[in-house]
Subunit: 245 residues, 4 copies
Amino acid sequence: MPNDAPTPRITIWNEFWYERNVPEVARHYPEGIHALLAQRFRRDGFPVRTATLDEAQHGLTKEVLDKTDVLVWWAHKRHDDVSDEVVARVQSQVHSGMGLVMLHSGHFSKVFRALMGTTCTLNWRVDGQRERIWVIAPDHPIAAGLPPHFELQQEEAYGEFFDIPPPDQLVLMSWFKGGEVFRSGCCFTRGHGRIFYFRPGHETFPTFHDGNVQRVIVNAARWAAPTVTERKVPASVLVEPLEAI
Amino acid sequence: MPNDAPTPRITIWNEFWYERNVPEVARHYPEGIHALLAQRFRRDGFPVRTATLDEAQHGLTKEVLDKTDVLVWWAHKRHDDVSDEVVARVQSQVHSGMGLVMLHSGHFSKVFRALMGTTCTLNWRVDGQRERIWVIAPDHPIAAGLPPHFELQQEEAYGEFFDIPPPDQLVLMSWFKGGEVFRSGCCFTRGHGRIFYFRPGHETFPTFHDGNVQRVIVNAARWAAPTVTERKVPASVLVEPLEAI
Amino acid sequence: MPNDAPTPRITIWNEFWYERNVPEVARHYPEGIHALLAQRFRRDGFPVRTATLDEAQHGLTKEVLDKTDVLVWWAHKRHDDVSDEVVARVQSQVHSGMGLVMLHSGHFSKVFRALMGTTCTLNWRVDGQRERIWVIAPDHPIAAGLPPHFELQQEEAYGEFFDIPPPDQLVLMSWFKGGEVFRSGCCFTRGHGRIFYFRPGHETFPTFHDGNVQRVIVNAARWAAPTVTERKVPASVLVEPLEAI
Amino acid sequence: MPNDAPTPRITIWNEFWYERNVPEVARHYPEGIHALLAQRFRRDGFPVRTATLDEAQHGLTKEVLDKTDVLVWWAHKRHDDVSDEVVARVQSQVHSGMGLVMLHSGHFSKVFRALMGTTCTLNWRVDGQRERIWVIAPDHPIAAGLPPHFELQQEEAYGEFFDIPPPDQLVLMSWFKGGEVFRSGCCFTRGHGRIFYFRPGHETFPTFHDGNVQRVIVNAARWAAPTVTERKVPASVLVEPLEAI
């Protein structure tokens, strides 16, 4: 029964390059975006670990992933430095039921593109103007507790066409002062796993300090958590007929 | 305008191994499954070419694909012999708008799995029992001219769980005498391209001689044909604001 | 947060005609289908009430519905005896966020047809042969705890084409020994409310005693429960611009 | 075969009140919105008729609808003056396969609400500011020939939450200068019929003179046209088993 389910175990993965190399980013996230998000999840009682690009196997060993119910992923600059072996491992874990919350520029990560099967390209502009995020599916669990819309005073702009498969559910849409719209909160299913893409989070702005942004990420993690305890990648099976033939 | 569109140019790709190596299969398809389907498309006035695994680049050079509006794909035994370069080329052409009609065991081709992002596994059994295909979306263009259901007296059985993303549209469902159901006609969008997966077509049975099966494949090719004349893979673009900010 | 949500308050509505008039049905459900389902929900700790057609306002007063998080509905013979006023009231409660689990012949109730906007017709045959229900979306919360498929040895057969809008999510599909398939577990959203249609449950068979059937109904009620505490029918609002224009 | 299909017969229905009573509206549409749209369809060779509210049976007799492949509907002020009989007739024709293109304030017509099953409410503001319409599904037939986005310099603003069921396909999204976003081009299926909702078209602005707006409406009519020649409302049928039982 969903309500008796144990609290999902979260792993937050971060490229963790900008925070160590760009003072403007370090000012917002002195210990890294992952550390801030980990703190937020812990506040709600989730067991959390973090992992970053420069760790061995990027911190995403089989042991870590086997104990991860939902993986939260932020990356931007170094997508190509993620090894294909780890990409395949993460994809396989999603197939077996691990949830995935993909943040912002993670749309262009190898992991996300492999799961979508598309280029995941989009239009963009770092102008630090206003983004307004509208709730399109107010009763989706990921929208629980959100107002009808909320604002981020400074963000990078993303614009359509966003090359993703039509999402199973569209929860959030963004309006940008510069004139764009964007599908900002998108649900997907791949194998046994649930995936949520969430648009905001450019590193030069304090986006992840925003209460509504945090709420979306926490809600998404709850939604994406597996409903089974034993995960298994789907497999082809030769079966006997069920009816006498 | 759709109605003025030129007739789509079809390329039919076939592994073409069974027909040359297994007498039982050669009996049904002496010149290959691709040849039979090509004949059917030509009857309706489509420009058609064929390509097979053992040709250079599997017959799928950039030149051929650039002149292909819809690629029809049959394969079963030698998925691993398709070069990754050709797989990437086909995937990219789909992203740019080329239609793809994937037949039967093609669910397990590298091309299909790359476009779906899942394992594409399923349950199966070659027992040559009856399959009944039901039309679930009678007004979808791919169902045009079909009866409410039609039968194939002998087929391989496929059973759920079929590990694909939830299709954009589900057009056909199969009933099998042995007790299974299966999502047999599934529409997907990837990039600018439309994809139709169609279940039947085990090589040891005369499935592709069936009039309803042929009709589905022809309808699917029309539906999957690009709506634009100049195809282009979606790309990330740095954009200026449309509104003064 | 979903996990802290109070257990949904269930109201089970039953036409309650067959059980009082047809001995064969009374044998399976001596106190009515609603009573059996109420018992099952209580076992899991849900607050439950029941209501039946012959009560004043069919037992579905505004007061009752205001305190109902999820309404479970069984009906077959007397759809036309449900007053339009109560139909409008139930529809409006769904718009405000009340969940609805519609069982079996309820597909043809005024309530369901008003919410779907279609005829909700289908093919049918009461032959008491085997139904096998397949899980198509194994990780949907409504499928939690179900095996890949389960059987009902005796049931009425329903067949496609089932005239409903394409469901938001398709969770279950039925196979019938007589040769049909059917979309047996379908999710819809209407206003703030979630609706689940679940096929089995012909009154002359002991279907609702089946553990898997009960599990689906309980899971569906959890899934359909509102995510907000204050329900409100969506309304048209004249709004001021958010940006200076 | 879709390509051999005869050109769909269009009926354009208009409330035709504003044009006769409000000079500002008459200036844009001296002969009525229906007359302008009829002219546009005729230019592309469609057989077109028009019908308006004040005609007997609102001009929508059974005879007219039986010869209508796609009904285009504009209304705003007098939804309640449409008789329930005609509403039921139109709904039934959609169920039998007639296409419906619902324009602008038609979201609040009895016909649309009956087909959606929801309140169809939304936020709104007549400020005559800029609307920018983005193409979200560039390869959908309804987007054929459109640029990535187009502008209407003066329009009424509509804002989410738009209380409709999640559309089968979302083709267009609007950005408004005042800060809103809106699902502006939505595809639905009801029975055998296809429905397209298209947002723009406030009567005090010259929206229907815009070439892109006209193109969307013509594309939508082609897309919504039935694929069969003999239309029939879906019906419940008692069926014999297909397999020996």
